[in-house]
Structure formats: structure tokens, C-alpha cells
Amino acid sequence: MSKVKELPGEAVVAAASSPSITNSSRAYLERVRGGDMGALPAVFGLLVLCTAFALARPSFLTAINFANLFTQGAAITVIAMGLVFVLLLGEIDLSAGFTSGVCAAVLAVTLTEMGLPWYVAVLAAIVSGVIIGTMLGTLVAKVGIPSFVVTLAAFLAFQGLALVLVSEGTNISINDPVIKAIAQKNLPPALGWGLYAGCVAAYALVQLTRARKRARRGLVAEPLSMIAGRVGALAVVAGVAVYVLNLERSFNPEFASLTGVPIVVPVILALLVLWTFVLSRTAFGRHLYAVGGNAEAARRAGIAVDRIRISAFVICSSMAAVGGVIAASRASSVDPNTGGSSVLLYAVGAAVIGGTSLFGGKGRALDAILGGAVIAVIENGMGLMQYGASVKYLVTGFVLLLAAGVDALARKRAAAAGLR
């Protein structure tokens, strides 16, 4: 998460060339006071939601429910993370949901009908995603058809493709233990703690090295106290999460124990770190923001805009493929509805709730996590509420609006203060 701090979305005022403003913690507080809250509004909306559900249904706060949250939200979050790249350019991919379905079907077919090992199947699924993304991106960037239309066509075609792959509507069961483990099994508690220690240490190291390097070159660097604060916060929050996830949550522990961090958690974390790194630390990421912010300026700066566009679609579709694998793992089956119904809208919604703009130029991998968490909490909480179908729809819509409203009001304050 360290990388997120310096994304274009949040120009770090502290890194001033004049040394007049030095204390970056003061600067951060002033920024918050001034209305530029970064991820705070989304986190705040999330807290409001969780509190409401916890009050309404105490079982919301159980360890098992906490663990469920991760597996329930994983597929949407991963798809949303891919969509961020396309949205960053001001494009859209309506077919991301069914892309995940098609790739899940490819996985299922290679796994069961062709009987190949799990890693070949996963590879096949992701390669399918890459191919799909290349196709979509080329149609958008080179032929110049609006992405809405291209991906609407793909949305239709991929439903047909999924039907063909699962032979006109049958369900394919997935029995491979490795694939099933992704969304259904947990890390051994010890490994969970080990991972925790590793992550916190790595984070601290990266932060410190950066600050030291900058200081050595005479550039304004974050003071040690700030870094310590951030690392500390991460350590505490992640520590509590790992602790809770390592609690026993089986209904009949004497019969079979159920503990540990779900395997999807490190998977999502790895993807988050990867894409955050790409977006904020590589030239490719920089170019994505540039094309999204002002495609003409990017073109004049010599950036190969078409290539950037195509890459974004490739990333989006291959992340959709990963999402499809997770969904297949969770359902231990693939059918023509995998990736259908609400998946796409929820995934785009997750990215937008997290703060990604549909107009391009603004978005982070973390947004998908935050927004995905909001969506997952709503689905999870609503599942505990036992409403009838109609009331459930109504309340879900209302709750979503509430979470987004908290966030919007906070941002509005930021805009009023003249910051965008």
C-alpha cells in the first residue's frame, strides 16, 4: 500500500522544492482539513455500513462471517481491479463479466474434459483473457469503434461462447483440489502470521529506503515519525485481521477445525501490490494516467496511445480471467451464468465507489479493493437480514446509496475547498 501514497491523485505537497513546508504530517492533516481525504471517505462509508449491520445482526461480527467476506468479494474485486485500467482511460468494458465466465469455462474444460493439470488450466484461462483483451483493445484503438459498442457486442458474443464451451448450458463440476482450494481453503495459521510479518517488514523497508535515498539527494523526504506511524497502523490493522482469521470458526470444531487466512487474501494482496507498483512506479503506469487525463497531450508527448489502450484492455480481460478462476473455485462449478447477471455492474460499481472516475485519468488499484469491500459487505450483510426478494432489492439499493452518499458528501467538501 505504500505506493498508493504518491499516486498522481494525491500530489504530495511535502515534496516541495522550496524547503518552506517541511513537516509532512502537518501537511497531511492540513490536507484532510482542507478536504482532500484520499481514501478516507470510502473507508468511512465502509465503517458506517459495518456498524449498521453489526447492530442489526450480531452474527455479522463473527470470525466466520469475517472470513466469508473475503471469499465472497474476491471475484468482483479482482475483476474491478482490471476494470480500473480501462476506466482510467475513460473507456468501459461491459464484457468483463462474461469474459470471466468464458475464461472460467476454458478452465473447466481444460481441467475436466481434457484432464490437464491445474496450472495448465489456469494458464489457458489467463491466455484466453489476454487474447480477448487484445481483440477488444484493437477494435477500440485501431478501428475506432466506441468501447461501449465493442464490449456490448462482446457481451453478447461471449454469452454464446460460454454456452458453447459448457455445451449449451450444462454445469461442469470442478473437482481439482488445488483450484477448489483458492477460494475455499485457508492458510495454516502459522503461515498467516509469517506472511503478516513479511509484509509489514517489506513495507517498512521500502518506505525507509525511499526516504533515506531522497534525503541523501537533498530532496524533501518524509520524516521518520510519519513512516513509523504508517507502518504501525498497518501492523495493527493487519495484525487484528490475521488474529481474527486464525480463530477457530468451525461449527463443530471437534469434528473438523476451520482456521486461518483464506488463500484468496494473499492472492488479492499480491495483485494489489503488483498493479499499484505498475501504476505508480513504472513508465507504463504514468502513460496510462496521461492518456486518461489528456489523450491528445499524451500523443504529443510521443506516447503510443493505441498501444496503451490495447494494454489496458489486455490487463482488464486477464484480470477478469483471474476473477473467473476465483469464481469457479468458489462455486466448484462453472455454468453459462458464471460472470453474468450482476457481476459486471457490481465490478464497475466497486471501482467507481472506490473513487475511480468514469471519465478517465483518476483511479488506483486500491479503489477496487475499497469499492469491492463495500459491495461485499452489502451483499454479506443483506444476506444476514432475511428479507423477501423485493424488500431485499429495495434495501440493497438504499444501502448502496447510503455508502456512496457518505463518500460523496466528503468529496464535495473537498471540491468546495478548491481541490479536485
Binding site: E168, N171, L258, R330, A331, S332, M382, Q386
Partner: protein
Amino acid sequence: GGDSGQTGATSTAESSQKAGKIGVILPDSKSSARWETADRKYLEEAFKAAGVAYDIQNAQNDKTAFQTIADQMMTNGATVLMIVNLDSGTGKSVIEKAKSRGVATIDYDRLTLGGGAAFYVSFDNTKVGTLQGEGLSKCLADKKADKPIVAYLNGSPTDNNATLFKQGYDGVLKPKFDAGEYVKGPDQAVPEWDNTQAGTIFEQMLTTEPKIAGVLAANDGLGNAAITVLKKNNLNGKVPVTGQDATVQGLQNILAGDQCMTVYKAVKKEADAAAKLAVALAKGEKPTASGSVKDPESGQDVPSELLDPQAITFENVKDVVADGYVAKEDLCTGDFAAKCTEAGIQ
């Protein structure tokens, strides 16, 4: 599927010069695999055997598309229209339009209320629900469950058939809830029969009510979603789950002991009965049906062929294979081979 219907149509065009053309509209391909894999196949076989031109299309659960397809079939010269309506309203408007053009109509699998089709061929949907309710009761009795909590995983809230299934199993289980024999647990509908959402819904049911002892899932897909969650919590096999459609997945779950029962609808019989009527109508004959059903909306008697669904448990899985509905090589893969032998499947 493919466009084999087209080839069938041309190859038989001359031989049945005076015979009309039959249009069939199937409802969707996602809520259940039967429409594309079974119904289409059996209907095509029957029509080809009779040498009648035909056109089979699927409305993909889209009402607008359903009406458009009906229009287009009539434009293409269909003289008999066999529909599986998506809801009675659109069904009715299609039947009325057909009638006004002198096109004969058959309600296939679902009765169009107030539509007044010439014939109705179906399984009894309420009966399906009744079998599910009875099946679950039996499994719970086998497990000797004491005041078991029963959860409902209903079909799509916008699907009228889901309402009929629910009527059926409620008819069996509600008296038991009222008598205090069973305890009514969470009761939720799954939008669009979506298996992924069903997983989340059931997971949350289990979080609120960890002591769920029986699950009435409206079809095999929903049943499998529930079983996956139960497996994760090491409860599979201990909590009976129902299903419907006798899919490979459902039958495998039954063989594995994770699912208690499914409902098998002998689609071939249904398709054959409907095809017979349609072919006769297309040839300008006046066929008759064995029974009739009273349309609750119009009060008229609709001539009907009604078929009985069959409950499938471990003991009679072999019946489904023997019927040719599911192929042994699809069912008895890998670990299931042993179970197949055990269940007496050859």
C-alpha cells in the same frame, strides 16, 4: 444446437409440400440445461422423423426477444407455434397474434393463463415441488433429525415456475412447520437462478443459522451451490439437499451422498407428446389429447397431455441413465465410477 434446424427444414421442404411449418420457442439456456441439450434434440428428432419443416429458437429469457421471435417465425411461414412462455402475459399476446393469423398454438411445459392455446403439454410443476418436499422429509427422517431447521433456496423471484415449485413443497412442509415437527429456517429467492449468488446467499443463511439441518434447493444448480458451502464447513452429507432436473452434477452429488434427491422429468416423453400434436396440426389433422387442464384465469378447459415427474435418489439414479437422459460416460467419471457400480448403473 447449431442451425441443424435449417438443414432439416430444407431437406424436407418438398416432401411435405402441403404440410405446414412448426415454430418452437424455447425459454432460455441458462436456468436449466434441458432446453438446449434435451428438448431441442428430441423435438428435432421427432420433426425430422415426421418430415415436417421446423424452426426452433431460444428467447434467452428475454420477453422482447420472445415476441420478436414469434413475429419472425410467422413471417417465415410457421403454421404451428409451440411456445414455452416466459410469462403468461407475453405468452398470451403471442398466442392472440397467432390466432388472429390462423396459426395453431401449443403450450409446451408452461400453461399460458388466459391464452387459450389449442393444446398444453407439460409436467406438473406443483407436483415437482411436492416431490421435492416429500423427498426432503424422507431424507430428514432417514437422518433421524429432531426438529430440524429447514432452509429454502427458492428459484428466481421473477419466475412464475419458481412460485409453482414453492407451492408444491410448501404444501408438504408447511403442515410440518405448523405442527412443530420441523422448524422453518431462512427462506430466500435466488435472482435469475444464479448459482454464484446462491452460494453467497446460502453462506449467509448458514452464518445466521448454523444449525440448518435440511436445504430445499429448487434445482440442482442451487443445490450444488449449497453443497459447496456445506463442504467448506464440513457439513456435506450431514445436511440433506434437494434438487431438480437430474443434471450430471446433481446425480453425481447424489452418488457422492451430498445431495438427497433430485426430480427427473422425462423430457423425451414430453417432447414426443408435443411433437406428435404439432406434426398433426401442421398436417392439417385434428388431433386429440388424453386429458385437460382448467385454465384458472379464463375458466376454460385446455386439452392437455400431462406427464409425471419422478423423484430420483441414490437407489434409482440408474433409471435416468437407462432412460438415456444422461450418458454413463458423462456421469461415471473418475471417482464416481465406483459409486456408479454401487448404484447399479450399467
